[in-house]
């Protein structure tokens, strides 16, 4: 899947769906799932190194979304709210799994930023994305694939707008570097902005 920068033009529709969900309409949940499951699968795939886990995390995200649906404020865009919940689900899962040995699952294929689509084939791009530093990869995917503004990325990650821009631009530079020289081993997150 090569995904271009997706503006938040459809967010108005999502807000209406979310409002219906808060009113207790089950079909609104179906619609939310229809619109958000695929992007969430791509986003959560950037956290796990096991394709089979992604589906579980998507389900867990929707359960958390349901439990916290009161916390959604209709004056805010829907997708940053949902992605923030997904991020929390992924980080909790990572923390739990860090205490247990992990199997060698198949790497999930990541959505590819349109800005980098010309740099290589889909598999090479996905592999290069996996090799990026976690924080930079996340910023690249949120901004370049799902079209979040840097202000939204900053609020989703709990960092400043400048830090969000920096992570994204360095991530894109790393991605280009990985595609021209071959993927390097992933860099750890510790001590990185």
């Amino acid at each position: 899947m090569v995904t271009g920068k997706d503006s938040s033009a459809d967010d108005e529709e999502l807000r209406a769906v979310m409002a219906a969900y808060q009113r207790g309409e089950l079909r609104a949940f179906d619609e939310l799932y229809r619109q958000l499951a695929a992007p969430l699968r791509g986003y959560l795939g950037s956290f796990v190194r096991d394709r089979s886990r992604t589906a579980d995390l998507v389900q867990e995200t929707f359960l958390q979304l349901h439990r916290s649906r009161r916390a959604y404020r209709p004056d805010l865009p829907v997708r940053p709210w949902v992605f923030a919940i997904a991020r929390n689900v992924a980080l909790m899962d990572r923390r739990t799994r860090a205490r247990r040995p992990q199997g060698d699952g198949e790497l999930p294929e990541l959505p590819v930023p349109a800005a980098a689509a010309a740099l290589g084939d889909r598999q090479a791009l996905s592999s290069a994305l996996h090799s990026l530093d976690d924080e930079r990869r996340e910023a690249v995917l949120l901004h370049h694939v799902w079209g979040f503004s840097f202000a939204e990325v900053a609020q989703l990650l709990g960092v400043t707008i400048a830090a969000a821009k920096l992570r994204s631009s360095r991530g894109m530079a790393d991605l280009r570097g990985a595609l021209t020289t071959g993927p390097s081993p992933p860099i750890t997150n510790r001590g990185r902005q």
Partner: protein, 216 residues
């Protein structure tokens, strides 16, 4: 429609079993108004229950009630930040948190230095241990109702960093409590203010972080 876009039956059943209408939360600056009555009670409780500090006339309105009002507003602002933090997708950045800590510390230092200059009241031989215990326990215990209410408001949202949201609640509640307690305690010695009042505010922050983490 691909298979991915249809919710799994088990997930959909779980949602269908539990779907009821909910009322969306208001914005943080609206929700924090729930704490206004508690904040007002805290400002007048200690001076009304014990006595108003004797150097009020010397301090003037700005350094007495004005400074307390400022602490109240600061406390409410910090709790509003906690309420914002508790909504996914609107996390408070690390820089904003640093700014909050810096403003809070600078406010305490400025008010302390100014009141010490205008009305220097050292502890001398008036039982510093007793005064310390009274001020720490009084400020900390006064903060608990505001802490409980603010944590309840945070819990109604969905804090992704519950310890941080709780710490902000505790810090804010500490300032709300100290706003009243400083109108009773007239010892302006910086060692006392930092060692007792600021310590109690920090302790409320630690308690908030601990309780916030436990609530998830």
């Amino acid at each position: 429609m691909s298979e991915l876009e249809i919710p799994p039956a088990a997930l959909r059943d779980a949602i269908a079993h539990d779907i009821i209408p909910v009322r969306p939360l208001a914005a943080p600056h609206i929700r924090v108004l729930w704490l206004t009555p508690i904040a007002l009670v805290l400002v007048i409780l200690a001076p009304a229950a014990f006595s108003v500090r004797p150097d009020v006339a010397r301090l003037g309105w700005v350094l007495s009630w004005g400074a307390s009002l400022f602490e109240t507003l600061l406390g409410l602002a910090i709790i509003a930040a906690a309420l914002r933090e508790s909504v996914p997708g609107t996390l408070v950045s690390s820089r904003a948190i640093s700014l909050i800590a810096a403003i809070a510390t600078a406010s305490v230092v400025t008010i302390t230095v100014l009141t010490w200059r205008v009305s220097p009241t050292p502890l001398m031989d008036r039982g510093p241990g007793v005064v310390w215990r009274v001020c720490v326990a009084g400020t900390f215990s006064s903060a608990l109702p505001a802490l409980a209410v603010s944590l309840a408001l945070v819990r109604r949202a969905f804090p992704l960093r519950p310890a941080l949201a709780g710490a902000l609640c505790g810090l804010g509640a500490g300032f709300l409590a100290d706003a009243g307690w400083r109108m009773f305690c007239h010892f302006t010695d910086p060692a006392h203010v930092f060692g007792a009042h600021l310590l109690a505010i920090a302790a409320a922050g630690v308690a908030g972080a601990s309780l916030g983490r436990r609530r998830r």
